[in-house]
Amino acid sequence: MTPWLVIVAVALGTYAIRASMFVLVGVRPLPRRLEAMLGLVAPAAVAALVSSIVLIRAGSVEPAPIPELAAIAAGLVAVRRTGNVLAAFAVGMPLFWLLTPALP
């Protein structure tokens, strides 16, 4: 029984987090200062996500293996150049496959 209760509680709590701002915006407009910042949420959040996936393991700083770091850096540059997200896979995956046998 406990697993179900915990999973449903996490689901409801997560939904409350998702819905809170959508509900609030109907009650009163967001403060202008806050609204000016919202365009920066995407770059900041995605940078934080990538950084935490690549550099953090179980609460401490532990960088991913070099082939993974190289693939992700190359993917970032490739998308920067082409403007197409698919370029990240096209460049990053082959680089990872090439480097993995070469590096420990």
Partner: protein, 242 residues
């Protein structure tokens, strides 16, 4: 002429729906390996399979779901598990704040429905698309709905396959890299202008500095600090240039 004008929004909405499907496709594909792995993890744990599987469509957030399943399996206290998972998901609050103004004219019921699928990949695709500002209300919802349905469809299918097949993908294939690769691609597209670059760099650094933050709150804290510092550089530049 009248009928043409009346028909136009419908075509726009349909085109926007297809656009949402197309834009989310690479990202939906990139989370499939993670979905497979979570399905396999549920199968290998002591958590009842149906409950663990239901966590996919109910929680709709991979890292929180995996944390929940792993902590249940380890016998952690229910309240500790719930708090951990919710802290991990607190970053969604920022996505809600950033998208809410685009949906402010919808009914409360509609907004409650639009909140259901809100998650990293959907936000990261929808926010820059909305900012191009060429979609009307209906088209925005169509775009968002198209993207959300593909993302959820792939996510639930991948977890189901992982659970039934009982195995994730072999690590040597490196497909676990797909999600961070896609995110890196979105990062490359989102850093336009000095404030955005500052926000991204600061956020990435704060993650490292805050590695020991409790309950994996690092991403939320780092993103908030990044937004604040990026905003400061923007306002300072405005002041000096005016």
């Amino acid at each position: 002429m009248m009928s043409l004008a009346a028909r136009r929004p419908r075509t726009d909405a349909r085109r926007a729906f297809v656009g949402g499907v197309r834009d989310i496709a690479p990202l939906a594909a990139s989370v499939a390996p993670f979905g497979l792995a979570i399905g396999a993890a549920v199968g290998a744990s002591d958590v009842p399979r149906l409950a663990g599987w239901a966590g996919g469509p109910l929680i709709l957030a991979g890292s929180a779901q995996l944390t929940t399943v792993e902590m249940l399996d380890a016998g952690a206290a229910p309240l500790v598990i719930i708090v951990s998972a919710l802290v991990l998901n607190a970053r969604i609050l920022m996505y809600g704040a950033a998208l809410a103004p685009w949906f402010r004219d919808e009914t409360l019921m509609r907004r409650l429905l639009l909140a259901v699928p809100l998650i990293d990949q959907l936000f990261l695709v929808a926010a820059p698309r909305f900012e191009e500002d060429d979609l009307d209300r209906r088209a925005r919802q169509a775009y968002y709905g198209g993207a959300a349905s593909v993302l959820i469809g792939v996510w639930v299918a991948a977890q189901t396959i992982g659970l039934v097949a009982g195995v994730g993908l072999p690590p040597a294939l490196g497909l676990h890299l797909a999600a961070p690769l896609a995110l890196a691609g979105l990062l490359a597209k989102s850093i336009n202008g000095r404030p955005a670059i500052v926000a991204a760099i600061v956020a990435a650094l704060v993650v490292v500095v805050g590695a020991g933050l409790p309950q994996q709150s690092g991403v939320l804290v780092a993103a908030s600090v990044g937004v604040a510092v990026g905003h400061m550089t923007a306002t300072r530049r405005e002041r000096t240039s005016s």
